[in-house]
Amino acid sequence: MIYLAVSLIAAAWLAPLVVVVLNSLRTNEEIAQGSMIGWPQHLAWSNYAAAWSGFCVAETCAGIRPYMLNSALVTIPATIFSTLLGAIAGYAVSLWRFRGDNWIYGIVTLGLFLPQQMRLLPWTIVLRDVGLINTLTGLVLIHTIQGLSFTTLFCRSYYVAIPHELIRAARIDGAGFFRIFWRIILPLSGPILIVTVIWQFTHIWNEFLYGVTFITGQQQPVTAALIALSAAVADIPQHGVQSAAVIIAALPTLLIYLLGGKYFVRGLTAGAVK
């Protein structure tokens, strides 16, 4: 009974993925004749080639590849910067009490709740003033600064469990702020760094609002490109190619999920108990 119920629900949950994967292997004509839901008559791998580097969004016909590259160029540096800075900040806040630490930490964590809409206009102006509007660097900057709220919180809640005596012992041994971080804290941080990196990567890769607001045309990340793509092909549907594009766009985060599932869930629940 339980197995039947669980299997049925699981099938429902898997269905959208299966449908899209199958569609990505069917030709556009085949889909047009039947429905989106069906078994491929013969495997049309050409959809992937077209999605990757062939079809046209707006005026350019380079496929999804440049947009994937854009997303990677934003996501990877922003993930690294925000994780590193968050680790240091979390370490400072949790293990080195300094004046005003609770205040500033409290304000930083408010960033978890503040809606993006409250920051859209100011970011537009800041990016314009520093000349980073419509650049990937601008997006890296935004995601680094905003990501700090999460990364600091994650790392702090991990580091508070480290005994303070460890820091005291190291101070008596003559180690300073950076040496303690580098030699003692960082080697202990494996799990939390994985959690943080997975969380940041997934969020930044999947982010859409900033990508579509601050970036236009060729520089857009892949989420924005997917929307542009569905608008572009609205007249002549190419669902096979679109499905392939969707799969490609979702692949990096899905792979990360499959490889680091345990850490992915830990990030979710850690983020929830803010």
Partner: protein, 307 residues
């Protein structure tokens, strides 16, 4: 041991704060940037919402005129009604789905890990992808309705996507698919954290599995339930990408939500003042959820500290 304590004499004595400057910079610059952008951006947006800004920010004071204009607009009214409906339906259904999934998975069934992965994978996917995929599945000419028609049941009707009254429910469906797994993960953690001695005691008292769940386990889940509800509400209030990809607010403006209104006012109609006012209204809705939650958490913590 005799040689170990060699003190290094005669290093030029830099002032303490100069020696520690790098660490101060590393700590303070990112934290201050983060805190400063949060505070100043919020204040700035709030200020703009009281100015007559349109295409560019301008100074001036129009009082609450932007707010009344937004609140009076049909766009916002529909968005707000939709938010109420979508928010409550989605939060309720995803919590119930998550709880059911968690209870099912809690039965020590085989393949638990695989099943859990299946229910959680939508969380790794972007809302844009989710929205796009569901827009195909729910499209009457392409998706489920078409499939059923092709199978021979030609009177079958499932066209919520293009039905003004029902379109909002397509967003509910996609959102439940996307984030029930999250509720499940939290509930499952809660179920697993119930003290196993208590469950043994209940068994010795003669309670069957159903009674054990109803009387012992589920009552201990309510703090988690509140957390789940608040987080899902927070998500519902700021929903943007999903709608953008699934219905783009349509048909017409039938699936408009506040976040879309903000974007529309700010970047499509270039009414910065009104856009900011709508953003502040969103913040207020959020606060209406978060402040009671924060107060509740505070009381819980106080009570725990006193106990």
């Amino acid at each position: 041991m005799s040689n170990a304590a060699t003190m290094r004499p005669g290093r030029p004595a830099l002032p303490e704060w100069v020696r520690r400057l790098p660490e101060y910079l590393m700590i303070w610059v990112p934290l201050l940037l983060s805190a400063a952008h949060l505070v100043s951006f919020s204040l700035w947006t709030i200020w703009i919402s009281f100015t007559p800004s349109t295409l560019v920010p301008v100074t001036g004071w129009v009082g609450l005129r932007n707010y009344s204009a937004v609140a009076a607009s049909r766009n916002w009214q529909i968005a707000f009604d939709n938010l109420l409906l979508f928010g409550s339906a989605f939060v309720l259904l995803s919590a119930v789905t998550g709880l059911i999934l968690a209870i099912l998975l809690d039965q020590r069934i085989r393949g638990e890990n695989v099943l859990r992965s299946i229910f959680l994978y939508p969380l790794a996917v972007s809302f844009v992808v989710t929205g796009t995929v569901w827009s195909w599945l729910l499209n009457p000419g392409l998706g489920i309705q078409k499939l059923v028609h092709d199978l021979g049941w030609t009177t079958f009707k499932f066209d919520w996507l293009i039905d003004r009254d029902m379109a909002i429910w397509t967003i509910v469906i996609a959102a439940i698919w996307q984030s029930s797994g999250f509720a499940m993960a939290l509930f499952l953690a809660g179920l697993r954290s119930v003290d196993s001695d208590i469950i043994k005691a209940a068994q010795i008292d003669g309670a069957g599995p159903v009674r054990t769940y109803r009387r012992i386990i589920l009552p201990s889940l309510w703090p988690i339930t509140i957390t789940v509800v608040v987080i899902q509400l927070q998500f519902a209030i700021s929903t943007f990408d999903l709608v953008r990809a699934l219905t783009n607010g349509g048909p017409g403006i039938a699936t408009q939500l506040p976040a879309l209104v903000v974007y529309d006012l700010m970047f499509q109609r270039s009414l910065l003042g009104r856009g900011a006012a709508a953003a502040v209204l969103m913040l207020l809705i959020l606060l209406a959820v978060l402040l009671p939650y924060a107060a509740w958490r505070y009381i819980q913590r106080r009570r725990a500290a006193h106990a």
